[in-house]
């Protein structure tokens, strides 16, 4: 019965009004018919029937009240009224909606990104059990802060592993990928065969990798990623068995892996099998390799248990020279196990959290602004509200109406904000640096909608509460008389508090933004040891057969041709270059200057031709650069950098020093240092200098003359714009060796720019928020001051009439405005001092309490405040006393 009744009622909802009308019309007609039957005329009957019935509209109202939907009707009525009001004051509506849209939109976008990057579980099955595994040998430090596991630890561990179900290696590299005639540079993952089982990956087609694929002389295979399969091969099922060329080597496609398992980040397009080098049985041999490792915890196992087992395995493996070289000299090894999802986002987590905090502040500021706007409107609508109260609206009813209005405002602002957030989120993968993890998953989903709705509700309540509370106060009669003096003052105090709060919120944002900007500028101006301006860098790889011969021919033909051009100042080549991903470290023995046993050193080792140092603009500190004669001299010529000299060659002159055999496999070689160069920050401006050595290309190394081969970095210093050389260099290289694979040919400045992508992104975003906060605070201040001036027109008129000059009146306004600003500043600076500690990990060369930032932010705020005061001050100064005293 109840359900039938509800269904019936729902069905009738849509037509109930018309039905009621029809019912009542029938009554009227029937009544008129009866009267006509008794002898009255048609007109008379109709009139009398109507009069007897009574007030049709009233009857309908009361009847509708019986339906039990009155609350809904009233709500719709309020909403309709709110919308009409907004339409009637477009200026206010625009200001409030834009403010809300910005606040809610920014909040939604940032929090959805935070969720997608930091919190959302990884898309792999059992993602909660996936962990990143690496070892450390404290206090030693791995090269460039890498987190590696050594193969010795790996094999010692998996033999009796109980805490891990699977453990695998991965690495992301760029390859020359050729399918048919189509050649491109593509990123791919090299993974060990256990990796598919670690991730729980499934093939869409064919099979995934097996142990057999990673064996020593196994046929070369490749597994495509689903997106590459669909885009480049059209989703063709016949792709299995076809051959593609990767870095000059043909590989057979054996399968396609499902799209959800793109690993480690969105750039990887395919999988290649990687072999974890087995530990040689000869205990004296080095045979140590390192890799990035991912594992899957066994069910019920904690991170601590896995770490303990791993550390035990690492301890059981012997420490070799190679281990010390890779992990830094240290004592006992320690294995770390961390959840993968944390690890993937670890680098950006601090920045994202800072961003979340910043955007929350912006939301609060926008709420304060809108509340301020609503309150001033409340004052303007005092008469209307008083009339409503006079004809019977209770305080609750008025408050409900005002809250409905602010909810409507917040809902509209929220809808606009959602649109803005959707746009931002869809643009984000394009704007953000490509290594930003997991961004391709970021999209609008129900969680984002929930966040937007929550933000809107917060905004509505926060901004609507104050006006609603002020409504319906007992001074209704006074308001009707048109003298809202008392109420105005209380509202002014509230609004002043809001402005102070806004300013206080804006200060930490500004300070943080300036700190980040300073960091960025310092980072960009670090002397990295080379000059990127005017330099063209070409990465060339000689692949296939007869690599040494072809490399030599390339260099011997290319470099003189380049040097002969009038627009080339210097040209050279090297095995490694700043900002290139390749890192070569060698370790050799050096006899210490005062006799005694040889010292083990390790250093970044460059093999370079003459002209390399000049082209890059390396800083010569002592001695000279290489010349052509150094290449084939009987003595191996070497350059060292300052860090190397300081660490290993202290005491005595450096230039001209000679050593005997450096490497284990040498006999009777002599090495001479011909110069000392400044440190080069190879891996980016925020890295610490490492010891570096340069060998002249062709200088004898290990007995026979050795040259740069395979991977060649050509550096050319142009007299003008380096980009114009690119096409010529490319055609020159092609002319010499048609099959050489040319990676990028680009100005080195572009690579430097790219290396600053992440800090630039963080700085830009935070600066945007800082400026937004500044603007909002200024707008809020302007609103309060303008309102104050308007309200106090009579007072100002009286003062002017009594002889106050313009300056005095302007001073009044300025004093009030600046007073508020300084109050907010004081609070804000305290808050900023407390909060900027959190930025520490993002700062470079700047302390969290840097005085410049703490001076510049208040200065900016005061300037903006003065500008905000200008217009109200002018209005105050131009008050016509006669007019002000006349109107009320």
């Amino acid at each position: 019965m109840r359900i039938a009744g509800i269904v019936e009622r729902l069905r009738r909802l849509s037509t109930r009004d018309a039905d009621l009308d029809e019912e009542i019309q029938f009554h009227l007609r029937a009544s008129a018919d009866d009267r006509m039957a008794r002898g009255e005329s048609a007109d008379e009957a109709a009139v009398r029937a109507h009069r007897e019935f009574g007030n049709v509209t009233l009857v309908k109202e009361v009847t509708r009240g019986m339906w039990g939907w009155t609350w809904l009707d009233r709500l719709l009525q309020d909403v309709g009224y709110a919308l009409r009001l907004l339409r009637r004051s477009p200026g206010f509506a625009a200001a409030a909606l834009v403010t809300l849209a910005l606040g809610i939109g920014a909040t939604t976008a940032v929090f959805s990104v935070v969720y997608d990057v930091l919190l959302k579980p990884l898309p792999y099955p059992n993602a909660g059990r996936l962990v990143r595994v690496w070892e450390e040998h404290p206090p030693g430090r791995a090269v460039a802060g890498n987190r590696w596991l050594s193969n010795r630890t790996y094999f010692a561990w998996i033999e009796h592993a109980r805490t891990l179900d699977a453990l695998g290696a991965f690495g992301l590299y760029e390859y020359a990928f050729a399918s048919g005639d189509d050649v491109s540079r593509v990123f791919g993952s090299e993974v060990s065969p256990s990796m598919p089982s670690v991730l729980g990956a499934r093939p869409v087609l064919g099979r995934l990798l097996t142990d057999a694929d990673a064996a020593e002389n196994a046929p070369k295979v490749i597994v495509l990623g689903e997106s590459m399969w669909r885009r480049q091969f059209g989703g063709d099922a016949g792709v299995i068995g076809r051959s593609v060329t990767v870095d000059g080597e043909p590989r057979r496609i054996v399968g396609v892996v499902a799209a959800g398992f793109v690993f480690p980040d969105r750039r990887a397009r395919f999988w290649l099998p990687d072999r974890i080098r087995p530990v040689p049985t000869d205990p004296k041999s080095q045979g140590t390799s390192v890799f990035s490792a991912i594992g899957r915890l066994a069910p019920g196992i904690t991170l601590a248990q896995a770490e303990a087992e791993g550390t035990a395995a690492a301890l059981s493996a012997p420490v070799t020279l190679a281990t010390r070289m890779l992990f830094g000299s240290g004592s006992a090894p320690v294995v770390h196990v961390r959840p993968l999802v944390d690890d993937m986002s670890a680098q950006v987590r601090p920045a994202l959290l800072v961003l979340a905090g910043a955007v929350a502040l912006v939301l609060l500021i926008t709420c304060a602004n809108v509340a301020s706007l609503l309150m001033s409107r409340g004052i303007a609508r005092q008469r209307e509200l008083a009339i409503r109260a006079a004809i019977g609206a209770g305080r609750g009813r008025l408050a409900r109406q005002l809250m409905t209005e602010s909810f409507v405002l917040a809902a509209l602002g929220g809808a606009l904000g959602l649109a803005l957030a959707a746009a931002l989120v869809s643009l984000l993968p394009a704007l953000a640096p490509p290594q930003f993890p997991r961004l391709d998953d970021a999209r609008i989903d129900w969680r984002v909608l929930a966040i937007a709705a929550a933000a809107s509700i917060v905004a509505a309540v926060a901004s609507g509460l104050a006006p609603a509370v002020r409504a319906g106060a007992a001074a209704a009669a006074e308001a009707l008389r048109g003298a809202p003096a008392g109420q105005g003052r209380v509202t002014r105090t509230l609004r002043n508090t809001l402005v102070v709060a806004e300013t206080a919120f804006a200060v930490p944002l500004l300070v943080g933004a300036i700190l980040l900007a300073q960091s960025f500028v310092r980072l960009a101006h670090v002397d990295a040891g080379y000059d990127a301006q005017h330099v063209l860098a070409a990465r060339v790889e000689v692949l296939g057969e007869q690599v040494p011969g072809r490399s030599a021919r390339l260099l011997d033909t290319l470099l003189p041709a380049l040097r002969g051009r009038p627009d080339v100042a210097a040209a050279g080549a090297g095995s490694m270059m700043p900002l290139s991903a390749r890192t070569a470290i060698t370790s050799f023995r050096l006899p210490p200057p005062d006799g005694g046993p040889p010292v083990e050193t390790h250093a970044l080792t460059y093999r370079v031709t003459p002209g390399y140092a000049e082209a890059l603009g390396l800083r010569l500190r002592a001695g000279r650069f290489f010349t052509d004669a150094d290449a084939n001299a009987g003595v191996r010529r070497m350059l060292v950098n300052e860090a190397f000299a300081r660490q290993y060659l202290a005491g005595g002159p450096v230039v001209g020093r000679r050593f005997g055999d450096l490497y284990n496999d040498e006999h009777g070689t002599t090495t001479e240092i011909v110069g000392v160069v400044g440190n080069v920050l190879k891996d980016g401006n925020d890295q610490k200098p490492e010891p570096e050595v340069y060998f002249a290309d062709g200088a004898s190394l290990g007995g026979s003359s050795r040259r740069i081969q395979g991977y060649i970095n050509v550096v050319v210093r142009s007299t003008g714009n380096p980009a114009v050389l690119a096409a010529d260099v490319r055609s020159l290289i092609r002319g010499i060796d048609r099959t050489a694979s040319i990676d990028a040919i680009e100005p080195l400045a572009a690579a430097v720019d790219r290396s600053m992508d992440e800090p630039r992104f963080a700085t830009t975003v935070l600066m945007t928020f800082g400026l937004l906060a500044l603007t909002l605070a200024a707008v809020g201040l302007y609103g309060v001051l303008a309102f104050g001036v308007a309200q106090r027109r009579r007072e100002l008129g009286v003062r002017a009439a009594l002889g106050a000059g313009r300056g005095r009146l302007v001073g009044m306004v300025l004093r009030e405005g600046l007073g508020l600003t300084l109050g907010g500043l004081a609070l804000g600076l305290l808050a900023a001092a407390a909060v900027t500690r959190l930025l520490e990990s993002l700062l470079f060369g700047v302390t969290p309490l840097d005085p410049l930032a703490f001076l510049a932010a208040p200065l900016a705020l005061v300037l903006v405040a003065v500008v905000a005061c200008a217009l109200p001050a002018r209005r105050a100064a131009t008050v016509d006393p006669a007019e002000a005293l006349r109107c009320d």
């Binding site: 029809e22 029938f26 007030n55 019986m66």
Partner: protein, 121 residues
């Protein structure tokens, strides 16, 4: 907005509960539309009770919501669409309960009205 309910002056003011009882009773004789109910009540009471439509229709809809009467659209003799109400099973039970309550109430009032003071003849 809070509205003041306009109270129409009837010949005799009916309490809300009494109106409900009369409607239910009227419908016991068969389904009827709103106009018919008001005519029946007037006739049945000998022209004494002229039900104020301002109370009738709200009462009808209230009773319908309570589930004591049910309504459907029918065509009248003159082929006009009208809403016809009928008593439901629950309505019948309610009618019986209301009748007994009314009887008890009128007896009680009658007892008080007809009571003589001790000692009066």
């Amino acid at each position: 907005m809070v509205l003041k309910r306009a109270r129409y002056r009837n010949r005799i003011e009916l309490l809300q509960g009494t109106l409900d009882l009369l409607i239910l009773q009227t419908l016991q004789w068969g389904p009827q539309h709103g106009y018919g109910i008001s005519q029946a009540m007037r006739a049945g009471s000998g022209e004494v009770l002229q039900v104020d439509t301002g109370s009738l229709y709200p009462a009808l809809h209230r009773l319908e919501r309570r589930g004591w009467i049910a309504a459907e659209w029918k065509l009248s003799e003159k082929k006009q669409r009208t809403r016809v109400y009928r008593l439901t099973a629950a309505g019948r039970k309610q009618l019986a309960a209301e009748r007994s309550r009314w009887t008890r109430l009128s007896e009680a009032i009658g007892a008080i009205l007809n009571a003589r003071r001790e000692g009066e003849a």
